[in-house]
């Protein structure tokens, strides 16, 4: 066994246990400092004036009155006259002033005139026969295809046939290849014909029909066929800490940026060109971040603007944090996806054919393409997607991009098919697990555990609660998957001669437990207590680690930390061996001692041992991936099962979640406590988007009607019901290596709850959120 391999359960004192997050105390005491809390003497307040129209062209900007106001230190025009604006709230002018009140007054004093242009914000079902079939492929389209694992030959064929509407530079192509895209696809991109984006005459962009097998013939001969309508509306990220940054020039060409980000190491490279200084002169800092969920990877215009305003104000720190309304309108959105689905099974409930026509919007760039049918590789398929370009702030990655929508659509259709067959959906899903490929083993393990926690067989009833009371009760389930392979990560681990240990990494902890995971892995490997380790993150001058997206962080940082700690331990053993009259390979680091494995009495305390390294500290760089130091410590491809128990009041349309069960795999669990918190949080976020959340756009003004938190409703503590989480651990799971966890458990709640509601009331409520009006409308067709 390689020495880097994750240790066996018997020899890992901390790994896989329940450990409280290491930054818990500082957070509960209110001492954790977020970007929003950065408040140095002389701080200037930055504010942004956004465009009030969903589609317009700037005709003139007059900032003279604002510039003359006492207390205003800098004004920066972000988008100049002549520029076309494609969504309301897009940034036009920034100001910096001595305090927020003055900055607000200055914003009001700016006069911008617009030529208002027609807007389009509807993501209703596209009329038939619309859309530019086979138009040029946008960057979003391309990345969607890759995210959804469209076969390489299909991607290449589409690029050759249609051309691309973006110009990938060498940097982009290199990054694309590094992210795991096949070199042949990258080559096709490099050689692709550039074609101007589609004309703005139609907001609908249709993908080519994808077909496999013979769906028509199969539908004609299948034992059961159902057709239905399913989907999920646009929602926002609604990070509690809004997006923002505080920039400060510490020299003519030296910039320090505090930013609320998921991508600490990736910010300086984004700023170098627009700011005009080398990336190495930009130091990026962040200790704590108040939520990101996929929306905080970019430096964004406000980040650039804060640096420009600071420059104009003589280098003084300028902090711009978005107002809540801007946060909701422009800083984060999950695309909608809806579909008309036809699905067929044989008499045993085996899925034989799938047909879907899906549509949705992700803002002006179109929308995501849900991977349909989700998880189940149905043999005969036909599917087509229409992306709708709408005038609203662009979609950003929202936990498990496209998966929650695909799950609602697919699991809903399968549940309806089971009802038609008079079968328990649990049985239908169980009979189709071979269609899930390599993950079928995981689902097979998980389904009975979930069923037991939910008492499924006892509590499930056929579709439609037949009891006379108006409150109906039902159960639903859903399955999900995600990749979650660890990202690139460098870690510097230093052992000091006094026995203290320090780790440096330019990563971030979104509240997922990143700090805790790094500390556990290092302490476990070195055989010392967690408190012995000083962890330094949140500074771009530390070794580069990837952005926290796609559940890649835990796998990445734990792998680089493990390699650094093993190498550091070996060097320590080499330094200590003579004193213990042993060979380095005969030593072990356990219980804060370094000792001879075969004769534990020959030992030195950790502190004594470290004194043997000499006068200078010992620093080791660990990396992920690192082919020279096998094995691969991280892996990809998790499985999860969730079940929901709901009550639906058929008189008011109100849905309540009574209980949810989540059974989740993520390979080797480093900290059971924070892992469970991730899953619990995902269930709650899922209840929230299943029942309450919706970004509502006004067709008349093109603006978001609920850019706040009273009408954009999040679930509260009263809404969550009983929650049960079971993490898969032990044999079959531990040896897979570490896999990220943030995305997968948020995929299924919407689907499971939607299915439970259908089971309760006997009809499908097509779209999330399952608001009372939608429930009552679905019930409207039923007598009584």
């Amino acid at each position: 066994m390689s020495e880097y391999q994750w240790p066996d359960p018997a020899t890992r004192p901390l790994l896989g246990k329940r450990i409280s997050r290491v930054d818990g105390p500082v957070k509960v005491a209110g001492r954790a400092k977020y970007t929003y809390d950065y408040n140095p003497a002389g701080l200037l307040a930055g504010k942004i004036l956004g465009c009030p129209y969903a589609h317009a062209r700037i005709t003139s900007i007059d900032t003279s009155a604002a510039e003359k106001m006492p207390g205003v230190k800098a004004v920066k025009i972000i988008q100049t006259p002549g520029t076309e604006i494609f969504w309301a709230g897009d940034e036009v002018v920034g100001v910096a002033a001595v305090d927020e009140q003055t900055a607000e007054d200055a914003i009001r004093a700016i006069k911008v005139q617009y030529e208002v242009l027609p807007h389009f914000v509807s993501d209703a079902e596209p009329p038939n026969n619309v859309g530019s079939e086979g138009g040029p492929i946008s960057r979003d389209d391309f990345e969607d295809m890759e995210d959804n694992q469209v076969p390489d030959e299909q991607v290449i064929a589409a690029i050759k046939k249609n051309g691309i509407s973006f110009k990938p530079d060498d940097k982009y192509l290199k990054a694309t290849q590094e992210s795991g895209v096949d070199p042949k696809v990258v080559e096709a991109l490099r050689n692709a014909k550039y074609a101007e984006g589609k004309a703005a005459t139609s907001p609908y962009k249709k993908t080519a029909v994808q077909k496999q097998g013979d769906p028509d013939k199969t539908f004609a001969s299948a034992a059961a066929v159902v057709e239905g309508l399913y989907g999920a509306s646009c929602i926002t990220h609604c990070c509690l800490e809004t997006h923002g940054a505080a920039s400060e020039w510490t020299g003519d060409k030296d910039l320090v940026v505090h930013i609320s980000t998921q991508n600490l190491s990736g910010i300086a490279p984004q700023m170098a060109e627009p700011i005009g200084i080398p990336a190495g002169n930009i130091q990026v800092l962040q200790q704590y971040v108040g939520g990101g969920f996929g929306s905080k990877f970019s430096v964004d215009r406000w980040g650039i603007t804060s640096a420009q305003l600071s420059k104009a104000a003589g280098g003084k720190p300028v902090k711009i944090m978005l107002e809540r309304a801007a946060e909701q309108e422009v800083a984060g959105m999950r695309p909608s996806d809806f579909a008309r689905v036809k699905v067929a099974a044989d008499k045993d409930g085996k899925l034989v054919a799938w047909e879907s026509r899906s549509w949705g919007t992700g803002g002006i760039g179109g929308g995501g393409t849900p991977p349909l049918p989700y998880i189940f590789e149905v043999p005969n398929q036909r599917k087509q997607n229409v992306a709708i370009a709408t005038n609203q702030g662009s979609a950003r990655a929202w936990r498990a991009p496209n998966h929650p929508q695909a799950a609602v659509i697919t699991m809903g259709a399968i549940e309806d098919l089971a009802a038609k067959l008079n079968m328990d959906p649990y049985d239908v899903i169980s009979r189709n697990l071979e269609l899930t490929g390599t993950r079928s083993r995981i689902y097979r393990d998980e389904l009975p555990i979930a069923a037991e926690l939910m008492e499924w067989k006892k509590n499930w009833h056929p579709r439609g609660d037949k009891t006379p009371a108006p409150v109906k009760h039902g159960l639903g389930l859903s399955l999900h998957t995600w990749g979650g392979r660890g990202h690139n990560s460098d870690c510097d681990l230093t052992i000091h001669p006094d026995g203290s240990v320090e780790i440096k990494m330019a990563t971030q902890d979104l509240g997922t437990g990143c700090r805790t995971v790094i500390t556990i892995v290092a302490a476990d490997t070195l055989g010392i207590p967690i408190d012995n380790i000083k962890l330094l993150i949140g500074d771009s001058r530390y070794p580069v680690s990837g952005g926290s997206g796609g559940s890649t962080t835990t796998g990445g940082v734990s792998s680089s930390t493990r390699r650094a700690a093993v190498d550091a331990r070996n060097q320590l053993f080499a330094a200590v061996a003579p004193a213990l009259k042993a060979k380095p390979e005969e030593l072990e680091a356990v219980n804060a001692t370094v000792r001879v494995k075969s004769d534990p009495n020959r030992s030195l305390s950790w502190k004594e041992a470290c004194s043997k390294i000499g006068a200078m500290p010992l620093t080791i760089r660990g990396k992920n991936p690192d082919k020279a130091k096998p094995p691969d410590l991280t892996n990809s491809g998790v499985g999860g099962v969730q079940m929901a128990d709901v009550s639906v009041d058929t008189e008011t349309g109100i849905v309540r979640v009574n209980k949810m069960v989540a059974v989740q795999d993520c390979g080797l669990v480093i900290d059971v406590k924070t892992a469970e918190s991730q899953v619990l949080g995902a269930l709650i976020m899922g209840i929230s988007y299943a029942l309450y959340e919706e970004k509502i756009l006004d067709p008349v003004t093109g603006r978001m009607l609920n850019p706040n938190m009273e009408f954009y409703r999040l679930a509260g503590i009263a809404d969550i019901g009983e929650l049960k989480v079971h993490m898969m651990t032990g044999k079959g799971y531990d040896e897979r290596g570490v896999i990220g966890l943030a995305e997968p458990p948020v995929v299924s709640p919407g689907a499971a709850i939607s299915n439970a509601v259908a089971n309760a009331i006997g009809v499908r409520v097509p779209f999330l959120p399952l608001t009372p009006d939608r429930v009552l409308e679905a019930l409207g067709g039923e007598p009584g």
Binding site: A29, R31, E710, L714, I717
Partner: protein, 208 residues
């Protein structure tokens, strides 16, 4: 100037409703230093501060803190921007989410929905004022033990709210918790842990 005259009425000098509207209107950027005045408007005695910056003295965590603030400045912004007490957060900025919860004379309030000038004379306790040194309160420790936090942005508000809730409900039922802590929102989804804190805290959960 008529406006200046109107801005300096003697208490009870019979400022008309129309004058009141003028006085309280913003955008009259004239530096001025006056104390608050009381006028009768719509049958009520109304204290008028400003316009412009006025001296404000707050009692926060047992200390007297003073600053020159515009009357429109909220208690939350004064605490954060002027006194660097950044534990309370501005999230919704309109009295919905509870991230800015502080205690005012022992009662939990949304600091974004109280003007700093109106908080004068009240005892304000922020999250920072619940602890002395590094020791955590039992409620804080319970949040750590139950992992009732993720990103931590809503956590200070939740801790202040939970502290007050447990003072009022030392032995809460699940229903008490649903109602009593529904004034705070979390985005990461930490309610399960918070519910466990509130329900487990029956014995040890006396707030400091």
């Amino acid at each position: 100037m008529k406006d200046d005259d109107a801005r300096n009425p003697e208490p009870g000098s019979g400022v008309t409703r129309r004058d009141f509207m003028k006085i309280s209107g913003i955008g009259v950027a004239v530096p001025l230093l006056v104390g608050p005045t009381v006028v009768n408007a719509a049958g009520e005695d109304v204290t008028i501060h400003g316009p412009g910056k006025v001296p404000v003295e707050l009692t926060v965590n047992g200390k007297k803190l003073s600053a020159q603030l515009e009357p429109r400045v909220t208690l939350l912004d004064a605490l954060r921007d002027n006194f660097n007490l950044t534990g309370a957060k501005r999230v919704c900025d309109r009295g919905v989410c509870g991230a800015c919860t502080v205690l005012m004379d022992g009662k939990a309030v949304y600091a974004c929905a109280v003007l700093a000038v109106d908080a004068q004379g009240n005892k304000i306790t922020t999250i920072e004022g619940l602890t002395e040194g590094d020791a955590l309160t039992p409620v804080m420790q319970a949040f750590v033990d139950h992992d009732a936090q993720q990103c931590g942005f809503c956590t200070p508000g939740f801790i202040v709210a939970t502290t007050r809730f447990l003072e009022q409900h030392p032995n809460p039922t699940a229903e008490d918790v649903r109602h009593g802590l529904s004034g705070n929102f979390c985005r990461c989804g930490t309610y399960d842990g918070i519910r466990a804190v509130a329900l487990a805290n029956k014995q040890e959960g006396r707030a400091s």
